[in-house]
Amino acid sequence: MNLFRAHVLVCGGTGCTSGGSSEIRARLEKELLAKGLDKEVKVVTTGCHGLCEMGPLVIVYPEGTMYTHVTPDDVPDIVNEHLYKGRIVERLLYKEPLTEEKVPHYGDLPFYQKQKRVVLQNCGYINPERIEEYIARGGYSALAKVLGEMTPEEVIAEVKKSGLRGRGGAGFPTGLKWEFCRKAAGEPKYVVCNGDEGDPGAFMDRSIMEGDPHRVLEGMIIGAYAIGASEGYIYVRAEYPLAVKRLRIAMKQAEELGLLGDNILGSSFSFRIHIKEGAGAFVCGEETALMASIMGQRGMPRPRPPFPANQGLWDKPTNINNVETWANIPDIILKGGDWFASMGTEKSKGTKVFALTGKVRNTGLVEVPMGITLREIIFDIGGGIPGGKKFKAVQIGGPSGGCLPESQLDLPVDYESLTGAGAIMGSGGLVVMDEDTCIVDVARFFLNFTRSESCGKCTPCREGIKRMLEILDRIVGGEGKMEDLDLLERTALVVKQSALCGLGQTAPNPILSTLRYFRDEYVAHIQDKRCPAGVCAALLVYRIKPELCRGCTACTKVCPVGAISGTRKEVHFIDPDKCIKCGACMERCPFGAIVRG
């Protein structure tokens, strides 16, 4: 066996792959061969590092030097300078956005400093398509421990002790859920991995499945042993082809090694996993709809009880957990429930993965200990708001979540605090908004999403969301009335309380939270007919400042509807009834005489 003195990690996550990382890999191999380094430098494709914004990423070990925005043409420098001569290629290093300082070492990036990577420990570090690397990093030892030394009851007790709660949204205690299913009568039993991830902008689960698929499998196999299940399903949306591919490879490798299938590790325990590709409807992430979809029926929720633990797939006891929940299991077994419970807060233990997006410097995937504040995530890890803009709000929990203002930034991130503030943990979407965002428009955006994703089975959700959206449309269109706010609030509460499934029950959250924290902004739209952020087109007025207008006539030439009148060298005027608010005149005016407000 060769001794590779250096490993060059090329990110093969979805972000970097679309940025051309496979060409970078090909070029690396070519240049290494040309330099005669191919026997001593190994090229490894990994999963996502979470810093997709900086991609494509290349990391060189043993130094741990991280290169950002790499193109195939940068490869010769990396090979000739760094790998051949040991000189770091300065120009490709990550630059601290504020200080412009270059950060050579991967681990020194402020982005990683406050993170605690448990679930993501292998993401971006190992080649997800090789079970060997997972095993070398201690993979499947938890499974071996469970099969060799623990009874199913002991496994459940350990998971209960850890305090792990479901990462798919509702935060139900995982150990307890397993116990219900273990105790339920009926054979066979099933376990399901929920990889639907329907929140727009979320990619936590995708990255885990792509970057460390064996961790998810190992968690499921352990769970199946604890529950007494013999069959498992992974439900992944078909828009995640790379996740599906890597899971399939991982399953095949685990089967070949006897870690999945009949008589796992020589024991009497047998378990198989099937992959079900979903069509990608948001409601199919809801557990009863998801199970209907697995059974080949239309993905619609049904009332609970009966809960899946008693009547799930084919009416048999079924345990369903989120991808991240499963991925937490191996370390809980290896390091113990107490270790896990030492991270986090009183009632929320461990870590949580978030997809940080929107108006923040470092967008990407972050894993943080529970109890960290939103401020630390957005400002310390995320690097704050770009372009000198001011922070306005953060939407946490996706379309079912809530929108929190500056005053809530010191809130610790745990299930109870977030729910108390009117948001939810959800599956981990964090969208940061700056002062240029109109809050009413944001609420409208999320509501529009839930409206189109509502399955239509129950009236409160189907009709209620539509009615609320109509009200919001009126408000942003300048036709809102003050009574609308009460109507909006009442409708929201009715839908929240009477919808059949979580989609309808949580859809009003964006409205309720924005009404709670940003009521002024609604009032400005209604009473002053003004959009403070200058977003809502119907409320904008274009006006010419007489003191600045020189009568150059430039604006009249670009106005597509002839709304501007005036003679040469005299002050011009915009007819507000004709103006369609395209903004062309403002851009054109050489004297900055046209303003919007």
Partner: protein, 122 residues
């Protein structure tokens, strides 16, 4: 791949596979080869190859790094050995023939190869 039949099978496999990710974890002892222009001209590449071969042959865990010019060009090829908690020892005029000695004596047993030393630092 053959099926794993027990806990021990898995443990054995894991040990065998350690090499898979070793370079990413970093060994305790560091061996640093000077790869400046004159280092390469004096044969540092050949020394590097010899080091890698020797480590592989003896199955030794160590981090192999390179460095640029350190201002001792006339003593190239230069090889530094840093054992955890010990002084950084610099060897000069190293040839591939010296490599087994440096590794066998110093890296493995902690005995400095005095006749080749050209510098010591903390």
């Amino acid at each position: 791949m053959t099926k794993l039949k027990s806990l021990d099978d898995l443990r054995r496999l894991r040990e065998e596979l350690q090499k898979e990710v070793e370079a990413r974890q970093g060994g305790e002892t560091q061996i640093i080869v000077g790869m400046g222009t004159c280092g390469i001209a004096a044969g540092a590449r050949e020394v590097m190859t010899a080091i890698l071969e020797e480590l592989a042959r003896r199955n030794i865990k160590a981090t192999v790094l390179q460095t640029g010019c350190i201002g001792m060009c006339e003593k190239e090829p230069l090889v530094d050995v840093v054992r955890p908690g010990e002084k950084r020892i610099t060897y000069g005029h190293v040839t591939p023939r010296d490599v087994p000695r440096i590794i066998g004596e110093h890296v493995v047993n902690g005995r400095i190869v005095e006749d080749l030393v050209v510098g010591r630092a903390n």
